[in-house]
């Protein structure tokens, strides 16, 4: 049969616009919520995924990258003695407090890395050089976090828990899941800037948070991981992917953050679905005499359902394209404001499938109404 549904939509542009708005609302909400969630999840394991270490070693039962406990630095030598371990580098993360020019404080996370090492994630610098971190009191911050830290410029002197620091560079896109800014510093300086590492040092023994391990060529990574756990007491060794997933899983599932985002996305789907459903239903009711004629002429329910589905899917297709365009623009705006929104192709396709399901579901109410339509009623209109 001809594309009656599409013609109906084209003719009733106001209703089509309302239905498309419903789809756009749902698409934008779902895409943005899931995109933000993906962005946050990615940021939660950014420093793990970007590292070139085969294994990450921490204290036992660390739930997430951000909340690890310190252990004695001397365990590094035990690690180096495990067969299959080629290289070990220290890597520290510790919460701290950054003094703002206004006199207030901002929480931050000090990341201590070995500037001569090769296993930590490369910093995407937009100003300064990694070697500059070797200078006295040098720190690097992310340009997207400057506002939170009182807008410091290169060369500005700042204070981190009563210790002098100087900004020597900016990274781009290095945001933490907890929204506290990362402050990158050389290992020794990070020891005095971080709460945990500083306190531990004050007790006499130098403490570390993580060790990054490179597995020697010819050795199986999983075997080396098990050997570390067997030979070094009170530590847990993770593969890079395993630790990344553990961190993501913690934020997504154990904190309820993921469920919150997904609930908001679901709400968008429901509201959008109701708008589309009501609009299609109003169109169907208005055209009941025409559907009655088709039924009287012998059109099957399948053929009538096709007309309604065509209307719904036409709105869905337009709403999907418009909604994605809006989402991409919003995502770019959010990204420049420091909030990562990821819209991978898989999300684009998934939202398309969801939109098709949404519009098909929204059409069902109309189809049920048509099922009850008596073709004989056409003689009474």
């Amino acid at each position: 049969m001809l594309s009656i549904g599409w013609r109906n939509m084209k003719r009733d542009r106001l209703r089509m616009a309302v239905a498309v708005c419903g789809v756009v609302f749902a698409v934008v909400l779902v895409t943005m919520e899931v995109g933000m969630l993906l962005g946050l999840v990615e940021s939660s394991s950014l420093l793990i995924d970007g590292s070139r270490a085969d294994l990450w070693v921490s204290t036992v039962d660390v739930k997430t990258f951000d909340f690890a406990s310190p252990f004695e630095e001397r365990k590094k030598y035990l690690l180096q003695s495990v067969p299959g371990v080629e290289k070990v580098e220290e890597f520290n993360v510790s919460y701290s407090v950054w003094k703002l020019p206004t006199g207030g404080n901002a929480n931050c996370q000090v990341v201590g890395l070995d500037t001569r090492g090769t296993l930590a994630a490369r910093l995407p610098l937009v100003a300064g050089r990694l070697e500059d971190l070797r200078n006295q009191d040098a720190v690097i911050i992310d340009e997207g976090e400057r506002a939170k830290l009182g807008n410091p410029r290169i060369g500005d002197c700042v204070e981190i828990i009563n210790q002098k620091a100087r900004v020597v560079g900016f990274t781009r896109g290095m945001h933490s899941f907890t929204t506290t800014p990362y402050i990158f510093a050389e290992l020794n300086r990070a020891q005095k800037y971080g709460w945990v590492t500083r306190q531990s040092k004050a007790n006499g023994a130098r403490m570390s948070i993580y060790f990054l391990v490179k597995v020697a060529p010819g050795y199986d990574r999983e075997q080396v991981r098990r050997a570390i756990e067997a030979n070094v007491p009170d530590v847990e060794a993770h593969t890079r992917e395993g630790f990344s997933w553990r961190t993501r899983k913690y934020w997504l599932l154990e904190t309820g953050v993921g469920l919150g985002f997904l609930a908001a996305a679901l709400l968008g789907l429901i509201v959008g679905g109701v708008i589309v459903s009501q609009t299609l239903y109003a169109m169907t009711v208005e055209k009941l005499p025409e559907f009655g004629v088709l039924k009287a002429m012998g059109a099957s329910m399948g053929e009538l359902a096709r007309v309604v589905l065509e209307q719904g899917l036409a709105c869905g297709a337009i709403g999907w394209v418009v909604g994605l365009a809006i989402s991409v623009a919003l995502g770019a705006a959010a990204g420049s404001a420091g909030t990562a929104v990821l819209i991978p192709w898989a999300l684009v396709v998934a939202v398309g499938v969801l939109t098709a399901i949404l519009c098909t579901g929204a059409s069902l109410v109309s189809i049920v109404r048509l099922r009850r339509l008596e073709p004989a009623a056409v003689f009474r209109t």
Partner: protein, 255 residues
């Protein structure tokens, strides 16, 4: 003798009613035969059961009692898909308010009828030409006059050449000239293609273009008037109620 296309024997339709314990009979005891090539007009006051009878013949409503056969098909135990197929293959409908699909052009409206009957939608233009609207194929229903819309509806009903054409008040909203055109089309179809045409109407002007007039009252047939035309005589161009070139044979039907 022409082939019997519609055969009814003691046909009845009863609706459930709170006021009457045995329900309310819309049609009762109707016995009638309509032949191929015959134009039969069903007249009577409102509520006399004309439209109910038409919908039963069209397979849109199930009779409560009696026998109904259209083109040799009885739908006593027919499922809905059987009825759909029956309507597609055997019946062409023309409605009082045309009920064209407003979003489609005249040609597309006719093409829908063809597509439903499994015919080539490309024949739509030819059917429009048959009803004198060859130049209006691209027009939307709102751009057509009432008479033109009804002629498009007839073209749609003729799609696939159904052997039975059922028309409900096809001239009610039309002026005399347009009404004559529409009835002329239906009559020509009956005479040239052997289609059985059954028209429900209140319009007395339609009588002269029919072969038979059946009057109904309270759900029953009251009178059948057979109009016998002189051979070769064309229908009158006037639809003012005065018969021209024909004589009548009246038969009263006992209740």
């Amino acid at each position: 003798m022409s082939e019997a296309m519609i055969e009814l024997h003691r046909l009845g339709k009863r609706y459930e009613s709170a006021a009457h314990s045995d329900g309310s009979w819309a049609v009762r005891g109707v016995t009638l035969t309509v032949f191929a090539g015959e134009v039969t007009v069903l007249m009577g006051p409102s509520g006399s059961g004309k439209t109910t009878l038409l919908t039963m013949i069209g397979g849109l409503l199930e009779p409560t009692e009696g026998f109904l056969s259209v083109c040799g098909v009885t739908l006593d135990d027919g499922s809905e898909p059987d009825r759909q197929r029956f309507r597609r293959e055997k019946i062409g409908f023309v409605f009082q308010s045309c009920n064209l699909l407003q979003a489609l052009t005249a040609e597309e409206n006719v093409a829908v009828g063809l597509a439903l009957r499994g015919e080539d939608p490309g024949q739509a233009q030819r059917l429009l030409e048959q009803v004198g609207l060859g130049a209006k194929g691209e027009a939307l229903p709102e751009e057509l006059s009432g008479g033109q819309r009804q002629r498009v509806a007839i073209a749609r009903a003729l799609a696939g050449s159904p052997p039975v054409l059922l028309a409900d008040e096809p001239t009610a909203a039309l002026d005399a000239e347009q009404g004559r055109l529409v009835m002329g089309l239906l009559r020509r179809r009956a005479k040239t293609c052997g289609t059985a045409v059954l028209v429900v109407t209140h319009d007395p002007r339609v009588r002269d273009l029919s072969d038979r007039v059946i009057e109904m009252e309270d759900g029953r047939l009251r009178r059948i008037v057979r109009r016998m035309r002189k051979p070769g005589l064309l229908p009158s161009r006037r639809l003012d109620g005065r018969a021209t070139g024909s004589r009548k044979e009246v038969r009263h039907v006992s209740a």
